[in-house]
């Protein structure tokens, strides 16, 4: 065990040191440094982060000198998405030209730069993206295993209610330990989401009910149930909303609010990152993920190989639901955020579908796509300073997101362009070689 740890440390000493520096600078230093130095600290963090990425790329290229971009599926997928995003932005621009031609170009710049206008905006971008990343992960995970989870909204709602209920009613936990309270509330949300996800899983496995039908129906059940439960158990009739959660139930800030002053950022993004890593590991490194993916790719073959596809199906929906439930919990375990007993489906669940597609259903892709969404939302907020109405802004963001999700279809185009480039390069190399030999 120790030997193994030592080996790991030796193998990636630089990675370890980098992580350590990053950890200190993100979670500890902001509490110690004077506010004036925070921007510099942020710059430092960015420098270290990107520097490390660059270093890794350099290492990779050194080890694989034969590397051809057109043969890297990851690269092709990523560039497909980037092109798609550009196409999405062009569509957005078109929308703006139609609505308000005078400010369209200024507007598109505002939207694109949204999350990076100020440190505060950056923090808010991250804050906004957290539930979207999680619902995106929820949909993507189910998708990987061949299931179309349209029910992230319902799972999120159940998670949100349970978390808020614990946050309001189980104040004793906070007296025992303030950390315990929000953790239990968070886990409660995940469990509720898991249960809500497992129901369609069970129905599909043992009653052959299609998951799309079951999840859509359960969305409505969750919506009405939520209204009923709020009004019965945690209703604040003065404001017609759920009661305030106890302060101990709110997710902590972990100094992130100092790093991004005046923004709403909190521990949510850290939790989302942990979920990204866990799902990535499950899908790519474990026998469980191997089974889940094979069932998703080819159910017959998985049966032939002796995999228990029914059990896997239920587990997959369970995990998917838990992640969506977590999204709900993180959304509402914030002071000043309140669940309301209104019969409206929470939109984050559906946005998750588009984000899952845009992120090509890979956990890391979803993380990036979610941040992109958060940035657009920030941009939309600034757009109000120009002459655009909030509804129009929502439409523009929707157009951009959905046009971008078309990225899947652009991969082939990317492959061909890359190949053409490489062939040209090779030809010119050959020509040079020929000319070179002529000279002699």
């Amino acid at each position: 065990m120790l030997a193994k740890l030592r080996l790991l440390t030796q193998k990636n000493l630089i990675g370890l040191i980098t992580s350590f520096i990053l950890f200190i600078s993100i979670f500890i230093l902001p509490g110690l440094l004077p506010a004036a130095l925070i921007p510099a600290l942020l710059g430092f963090i960015g420098l270290i982060g990107f520097g490390y990425l660059g270093y890794k790329t350099y290492l990779f290229l050194k080890e694989n000198p034969e590397f051809k971009p057109s043969e890297s599926t990851t690269l092709i997928k990523v560039s497909g998405s980037v092109i798609a995003i550009i196409a999405g932005l062009l569509f957005g621009l078109l929308m703006m030209l139609i609505v308000n031609p005078g400010q369209a170009f200024q507007g598109i710049v505002t939207i694109v730069s949204g999350g990076f206008r100020s440190i505060q905006a950056m923090g808010n971008m991250i804050y906004f993206s957290v539930p979207i990343i999680l619902t995106g992960l929820s949909v993507a995970f189910a998708f990987r295993t061949g299931l179309f989870n349209i029910g992230a909204t319902g799972q999120l709602t159940m998670g949100a209610f349970t978390a808020v209920f614990i946050g309001v009613r189980w104040g004793v936990l906070g007296e025992v330990s303030p950390t315990l309270h929000w953790i239990v509330a968070l886990l409660g949300g995940a469990v509720a989401g898991a249960i809500w996800g497992a129901i369609p899983g069970l129905l599909k496995a043992y009653r052959n009910v299609h998951e799309v039908v079951a999840t859509i129906m359960l969305n409505y059940v969750a919506m009405y149930l939520n209204t009923l439960l709020i009004t019965n158990y945690i209703y604040n009739s003065d404001y017609a909303r759920a009661m305030d959660i106890k302060t101990t139930a709110a997710t902590p800030k972990w100094n992130l609010d100092l790093l991004f002053p005046r923004s709403s950022i909190g521990a949510g993004i850290v939790i989302a990152l942990i979920v990204v890593i866990i799902l990535h590991i499950i899908l790519n490194k474990t026998t469980f993920g191997y089974e889940l993916k094979s069932v998703g790719f080819n159910r017959d073959a998985s049966k032939y190989a002796g995999m228990n596809s029914k059990r896997n199906l239920v587990y997959s929906m369970l995990i998917s639901g838990a992640v969506a439930g977590l999204a709900g919990a993180l959304m509402f375990l914030n002071l000043g955020k309140h669940l309301k007993p209104v019969n409206v489906l929470i939109p984050e669940g559906f946005t998750g579908i588009a984000i899952a597609l845009l992120g090509l259903t890979s956990p890391i892709g979803v993380l990036l796509a979610g941040l992109f969404y958060g940035s657009l939302q920030q941009g939309g907020y600034f757009l109000q300073l120009l002459d655009y109405k909030p509804e129009i802004i929502d439409i523009i963001i929707a157009v951009i997101i959905y046009a971008s999700a078309l990225g899947l279809f652009l991969q082939k185009f990317v492959i061909n362009t890359l190949k053409a480039r490489e062939m040209q390069l090779e030809r010119s190399k050959q020509n040079e070689a020929l000319e070179g030999s002529d000279d002699e």
Partner: protein
């Protein structure tokens, strides 16, 4: 010049491999031109280039003497080029007629026109005796019939140049005879045909000329009439191939598999697919179940391997009743299974080769620890099998199964199942789609397994394979066991009569 198609100096690359390297193919009008080459030699790729599915990096294509650019199958259709793919491309929940007109629909005011097309399909089907029911769903008809649909699809589009990519790999001997006849008829009418096949006998039977590819390179073109089968095999493999199988007489030992009064009921057709079948397979012998496709062999195997539930009877493995055990339990107890349908059951096409090679063993301590996959062990396993079974592909262990050639996909499955080294190996059409060299190797492997005291249950439609490999033969007809034979004492002809149901032993 009277070449109808000229593919000149075609080069097509895939990651890690030149699938076609400066290949030239010239097709005369009205000829049947065979394309021969080992698994992965680049035959399907070359034809996909002609059909507009791939763009070559170099080379040009001339159709009827004119240089053309074929960017998509639609372009190919317009030039009169049709193709039946190695793995059919039919929409399973569409009817036969819908599949045939797909992409070529007539509409009136935006509504699909069916009467006229169906009339045309029926005429074509009569003219070439390609019998199909135009209203059946594809998922309900046999592969042989699906093949006919693919051919009708080409004819419906008035194709003049017909490409057949391994049309006979999935057919029964009778159906092969039929399709050979149809090809000759088409050629006599002036259509030009490219035929890809690994069966040299078929080339001898119908082809006029034969072009040979080896590892992506063009080796040459010969007139079939003055070239022996051996010579063609040598051109293709680059060494002599033996068609004879040496094997010692079997020395059967204890019983491994015992099937007692097994029946399988078909809910859809409300009749038995398998009726009251009993037999035993012993250590050290190859028992072959012969028969024409669709006489219950598939269901028999599926019942033994656990893919379907039998309605009656018992399956006993090494003295233990496994009739109702899960597939996983059967696998662990010692059953390996080379499935009939490699894409449905055999592979996860979107997994890499190395991941496909641990399909039933990923959970064993060899490949996993605490639930985490051991990637080094998986890679080593793949490298070993790739070497041993000569599985060819662009990127070795990390190649996506989807991008491998049909024959190499098959080799991967066979390698995986033989390597599991279980007491019982059920091999259904193990050499389907393999080249002669690979067949030779797989046959040797099967016999070696037998000599190592493994029990082998072989299901094959090919009489030659049946006669060469088996130690005992059982013939199935309409789900029943109609007789058991000793391959030494029975002729192919006689077996054929039992298979066709015109004779039956008591």
């Amino acid at each position: 010049m009277d070449y109808i198609i000229e593919m000149l100096n075609i080069t097509k690359e895939f990651p890690g491999i030149k699938a076609n390297d400066d290949v030239t193919l010239q097709l005369k009008k009205g000829e049947i031109h065979a394309l021969l080459g080992e698994n992965g030699a680049g035959k399907s790729t070359l034809m996909s280039v002609l059909f507009g599915l791939y763009q070559p990096e170099k080379g040009e294509i001339k159709v009827r003497g004119k240089k053309v650019q074929i960017d998509s199958p639609n372009d190919a259709n317009e030039l009169g080029i049709g193709m039946v793919h190695q793995h059919f491309k039919l929409v399973h929940n569409f009817t036969v007629a819908e599949n045939i007109i797909l992409g070529f629909e007539d509409t009136t005011y935006g509504f699909l026109e069916f009467d006229e097309p169906i009339q045309k399909i029926k005429e074509l089907s009569n003219q070439y005796s390609l019998k199909v029911d135009v209203n059946s769903l594809i998922s309900n008809i046999s592969v042989g019939q699906q093949q006919r649909v693919e051919i009708l699809k080409m004819l419906y589009r008035d194709a003049e140049i017909l490409i057949f990519d391994e049309p006979t790999a999935v057919l029964t001997p009778q159906e092969i005879e039929e399709i050979m006849g149809i090809m000759k008829e088409l050629a006599a009418e002036g259509k030009s045909i490219v035929l890809i096949t690994h069966k040299l006998k078929e080339i001898k039977q119908v082809a006029d000329r034969c072009s040979v590819l080896r590892k992506g390179k063009y080796i040459g073109t010969v007139d079939v009439a003055d070239t022996s089968v051996e010579k063609m095999a040598e051109m293709m493999v680059g060494r002599e191939v033996s068609f004879e199988i040496d094997k010692e007489a079997a020395t059967p030992k204890e019983t491994v598999l015992q099937v007692k009064n097994l029946s399988v009921f078909n809910e859809l057709l409300q009749k038995d697919d398998v009726t009251d079948i009993s037999f035993e397979v012993k250590k050290g012998e190859i028992l072959c179940i012969g028969g024409i496709e669709g006489n219950g062999q598939t269901q028999l195997v599926e019942a033994i391997t656990g893919l379907i539930e039998p309605s009656n009877g018992e399956i006993i493995l090494n003295g233990e009743d496994i009739t109702h055990n899960s597939i996983r339990k059967r696998n662990i107890a010692g059953v390996s299974h080379i499935p009939e349908d490699r894409h449905k059951y055999g592979l996860v096409l979107d997994y890499s080769l190395e991941k496909n090679l641990i399909f039933q063993t990923y959970f064993t301590p060899k490949f996993q620890k605490n639930g985490f996959l051991k990637f080094d062990a998986i890679r080593d396993n793949a490298k070993r099998l790739i070497k041993q079974f000569d599985i060819r592909s662009g990127k070795g262990a990390t190649t996506m199964a989807r991008s491998m050639s049909g024959g190499n996909q098959q080799k991967a499955i066979v390698a995986r199942e033989i390597d599991r080294d279980t007491e019982l190996l059920i091999a259904v059409q193990p050499t389907r789609g393999l080249d002669v060299g690979a067949i030779e190797y797989i046959h040797k492997q099967l016999i070696e397994q037998r000599d190592n005291d493994k029990a082998i249950l072989l299901i094959s439609l090919e009489l030659e394979e049946v006669m060469n490999l088996s130690d005992r033969i059982i013939v199935m007809y309409e789900g029943e066991n109609v007789g058991e034979f000793d391959p030494e004492k029975v002729t192919e002809n006689e077996l054929g009569l039992y298979m066709a149901g015109s004779k039956k032993k008591e």
